[in-house]
C-alpha cells in the first residue's frame, strides 16, 4: 500500500469504526478512548486488527495493539506500519 498521511489514515479508521461497529461519526474523535468512550470490546479490537491486516497487507502484531487506547493510537500503529 502506498504511503498514507495521518489524516488519510484517520479518515479510514473513522469510516471503519462507523461501518463495522455502527458508531455514530460524531462520537469518533482522535482523543476518543476505544474501550471507555466508544464501547468497543476486545472482540471488536480483534476484528479491527483483522481489517488492518487486510488494509496494510502487513500483520499487525497483537503486542503493538496492546498499548492502543485511543483512536489516535490506532492511527499511529497503522502509520508506523505503512511508512
Amino acid at each position: 500500500m502506498a504511503a498514507m498521511d495521518r489524516q488519510e489514515i484517520y479518515a479510514w479508521v473513522a469510516r471503519h469504526l462507523t461501518e463495522m461497529f455502527e458508531i455514530a461519526p460524531e462520537r469518533i474523535t482522535p482523543e476518543a478512548r476505544l474501550y471507555q468512550d466508544l464501547d468497543i470490546d476486545s472482540i471488536d479490537a480483534v476484528d479491527l486488527m483483522v481489517k488492518l491486516n487486510e488494509l496494510t497487507g502487513k500483520r499487525v502484531l497483537p503486542e503493538s495493539f496492546k498499548s492502543v487506547r485511543t483512536v489516535a493510537d490506532v492511527v499511529d500503529v497503522i502509520h508506523g506500519l505503512v511508512n
Binding site: E19, F21, E22, I23, I40, D41, S42, V46
Partner: protein
C-alpha cells in the same frame, strides 16, 4: 378414516350430494355443486397447455375447486405462500398456468363446458408446496396423492374422535401453507366436514361460526396469543383448536385454553413430513400420529417412518429429540448449528442465553452473509432493555449482552452485530425467516447503483438502478415505496459535487417539477448540467420523472 373418502375418488363416487362441503357468507355449497364446479373448471384446465399450474386463492372453497380441477386434469399444482410480484415472477418460469388470484383475469369456465371426472392418479407427484424457510430459503416439496391420503388417514385417526362428524373447520392460517392446506381443506373435505371458506382474522369473527356441532379452529401461536390476552367472544363456541407453525409458549397455551374452553392440540410436523405428532399441552410428550414410527439417532436427531413420506424406511429430520415415557420431546433444530471461524455453535443455545438476560424479551441469531461468516443477533428488548437502550444506546447495550455471553461461549463465535427491533419479523404461523432477519443487517445504501456513466464538458449522464434496499424507501411508504423528492435532490447534488467543482452551499431550487413517481425496480437516467452557479437536473426513463435547477451560493 372411512374407506369411501379418499381424495382420488372423492368427486367421482356418488356420495351424499346434499351434504354441505363449504360455508360462507354466500351460503352453503353442497357436494353436488362442488362436483359440478370442479367438472367445469377441469374442462377449462384441460383446454390450457402445459403440465403445471400455480394456484393462489383467498377463498378456501375456490382454492379447492381449482386444486381438484387441476388434479382431475392430470396437472401438477404449485402452491405459493403469497401472491406478491416476486412470487409470480419466480413461478412464471415453472408453471404454465396461473390460477385463482394469480391469473390476470380469473378464468371463468363456460357454464356449459364440463368434463366427466375420472379418478385422480395416486402415484404421480400432483402437489408442490413450499417449506417455510425458517432456517434458509424456501424449498419446493413434492407430494403424491397417495402421500396426502396417508396423512389424512393418520390425522383422522388421531383427531377424528375429538372433532365430531360434520363439524365445520375454520382457520386463521392460510391454506397456501401446507399446514393450512392439509387441515383446512384436504382433511375436512375427505372426512365430510364442511370448510369455512374465509380465514378468521379477528377473535370477534369466531362468534359467527356455526356451532352445531362446535367447529374446529386451525390456528397458530400468533392468534392464540391474541386470544390469550383479549379473550374469546362470549357467543363463540369451539369444539377443538389446533396449533402449529411455531412452538406454543406454556403461559399462552394455558391462557388460551382457559379462554377457549375446548381441547387445544399442538401439531408437530413440516411441509416435508406432513403432520407427525400431537400433544395436548406444552410440557406433555409428543405422541406420534397412528401409523407413524419415530426413533432418535445416536447423534440425537429424530427420524420418522410413515406412509405419508412416500419413501420406505427411516427419514431423517433436522430436529433434535429425546424419547420419553410419554412419547418424545423436541430439543431444537440440529441444523441450527453454525460454523464460525471453524468453531461449531448452536444458534438455539445462543438465543436461549440471550433470552436469559434481563435486557432481552426475545432473541434470534442468524448467520450473516459475507466473506467471513459471522453472527447477528436480532433482539426485542424487555422493559429493562428499553431503559438500557435509552440510557446507553444500542451499541453499548449490544456489547453489554456480549460480555454476559462471554462466560458461556468462545469469543470468536459471539454475535458481531446486534439489532434491536420492536418485534421480530414473523410470518402468519409465527415463524421467523432467516432471510428476513439477515436483511435487518444489510447496510442501507443512500444512493442508487450507477449502471452507466457518461461525462462531458459540464455535463454528466448517469443511468441509475433504483432497488428496494435504498435507505430512502424505509418508511416512505411501507405499502407503496416511492423515492422522495428530497432524496432525488440529494442524489443530484451528491453526484454533481463529485463530478464538478461546486464550492458554494445549497441555496435553493428553481423550476422544480415532479411529474411521475420513481419506484423500486425502475432504471432512470439522471442528467446533470453545471452552469457556474446553478445545477440543472433531470430524472427520466421513457417518460420525464422530475427536473429543476438547484442554486448554489457564491464563494463566501
Amino acid at each position: 378414516m372411512s374407506p369411501e373418502t379418499p381424495l382420488a375418488t372423492l368427486l367421482t363416487s356418488a356420495g351424499r350430494a346434499a351434504r354441505p362441503v363449504a360455508l360462507g357468507p354466500e351460503g352453503a355449497v353442497d357436494a353436488a355443486e362442488l362436483r359440478a364446479a370442479v367438472a367445469r373448471a377441469s374442462a377449462y384446465v384441460q383446454s390450457q397447455p402445459g403440465t403445471t399450474a400455480a394456484l393462489y386463492h383467498g377463498d378456501s372453497y375456490q382454492f379447492a375447486v381449482w386444486l381438484f380441477a387441476c388434479w382431475h386434469a392430470g396437472r401438477v399444482v404449485v402452491v405459493p405462500a403469497d401472491k406478491v410480484a416476486d412470487t409470480r415472477g419466480a413461478l412464471a418460469a415453472d408453471a404454465h398456468l396461473a390460477l385463482g388470484e394469480l391469473a390476470a383475469d380469473e378464468p371463468r369456465p363456460a357454464p356449459g363446458a364440463a368434463v366427466a371426472l375420472a379418478p385422480i392418479a395416486r402415484d404421480r407427484v400432483l402437489l408442490r408446496v413450499y417449506t417455510s424457510g425458517s432456517t434458509g430459503r424456501p424449498a419446493l416439496i413434492d407430494k403424491t396423492l397417495a402421500q396426502l391420503e396417508a396423512e389424512i388417514a393418520a390425522i383422522d385417526a388421531a383427531l377424528g374422535p375429538s372433532a365430531p362428524p360434520g363439524a365445520a373447520v375454520a382457520g386463521t392460517v392460510s391454506h397456501q401453507h401446507f399446514y393450512g392446506l392439509m387441515f383446512r381443506v384436504l382433511w375436512p373435505l375427505a372426512t365430510g366436514r364442511p370448510i369455512v371458506r374465509r380465514s378468521v382474522r379477528f377473535p370477534e369473527e369466531l362468534a359467527a361460526l356455526p356451532t352445531m356441532p362446535p367447529p374446529v379452529l386451525v390456528t397458530s401461536p400468533v392468534f392464540l396469543g391474541v386470544l390469550a390476552s383479549g379473550g374469546v367472544p362470549r357467543a363463540a363456541q369451539l369444539g377443538l383448536v389446533l396449533s402449529a407453525g411455531s412452538a406454543l409458549a406454556t403461559d399462552i397455551a394455558r391462557a388460551a385454553r382457559d379462554a377457549i374452553g375446548a381441547p387445544l392440540f399442538e401439531i408437530y410436523g413440516s411441509a416435508e413430513s406432513g403432520a407427525v405428532a400431537l400433544r395436548r399441552e406444552p410440557g406433555a410428550g409428543w405422541q406420534p400420529l397412528p401409523g407413524i414410527g419415530i426413533r432418535v439417532t445416536p447423534a440425537g436427531t429424530l427420524e420418522i417412518a410413515a406412509p405419508q413420506l412416500g419413501t420406505r424406511g427411516w427419514q431423517p429430520t433436522a430436529d433434535r429429540a429425546q424419547v420419553t415415557e410419554a412419547g418424545f420431546e423436541l430439543a431444537g433444530r440440529a441444523d441450527r448449528l453454525a460454523k464460525i471461524a471453524d468453531k461449531r455453535v448452536s444458534l438455539d443455545r445462543l438465543e436461549a442465553a440471550l433470552e436469559a438476560s434481563a435486557l432481552v424479551g426475545a432473541a434470534r441469531v442468524v448467520v450473516l452473509p459475507g466473506p467471513h461468516a459471522e453472527l447477528g443477533a436480532v433482539l426485542v428488548a424487555s422493559v429493562a432493555g428499553r431503559a438500557a437502550l435509552a440510557r446507553d444506546g444500542a451499541f453499548a447495550t449490544g456489547r453489554a449482552l456480549r460480555r454476559a455471553l462471554a462466560g458461556e461461549f468462545e469469543a470468536v463465535v459471539l454475535p458481531r452485530r446486534f439489532r434491536f427491533v420492536d418485534e421480530l419479523p414473523r410470518d402468519p404461523l409465527g415463524k421467523t425467516r432467516a432471510g428476513e432477519l439477515a436483511a435487518l443487517f444489510a447496510p442501507a445504501r443512500l444512493r442508487p447503483i450507477v449502471a452507466t456513466r457518461e461525462a462531458g464538458d459540464g455535463q454528466l449522464r448517469l443511468k441509475l438502478e433504483i432497488d428496494r434496499s435504498l435507505a430512502c424507501f424505509r418508511g416512505h411508504f411501507p405499502a407503496q415505496p416511492v423515492v422522495p423528492g428530497v432524496a432525488q435532490l440529494e442524489w443530484a447534488i451528491g453526484f454533481a459535487r463529485e463530478a464538478f467543482d461546486i464550492r458554494g452551499a445549497f441555496s435553493g431550487v428553481d423550476a422544480l417539477k415532479f411529474q411521475r413517481i420513481i419506484a423500486p425496480g425502475m432504471a432512470v437516467t439522471l442528467t446533470l448540467e453545471w452552469r457556474g452557479t446553478t445545477l440543472a437536473f433531470r430524472f427520466e426513463s421513457d417518460t420525464p420523472h422530475s427536473s429543476g435547477r438547484i442554486l448554489f451560493a457564491g464563494e463566501p
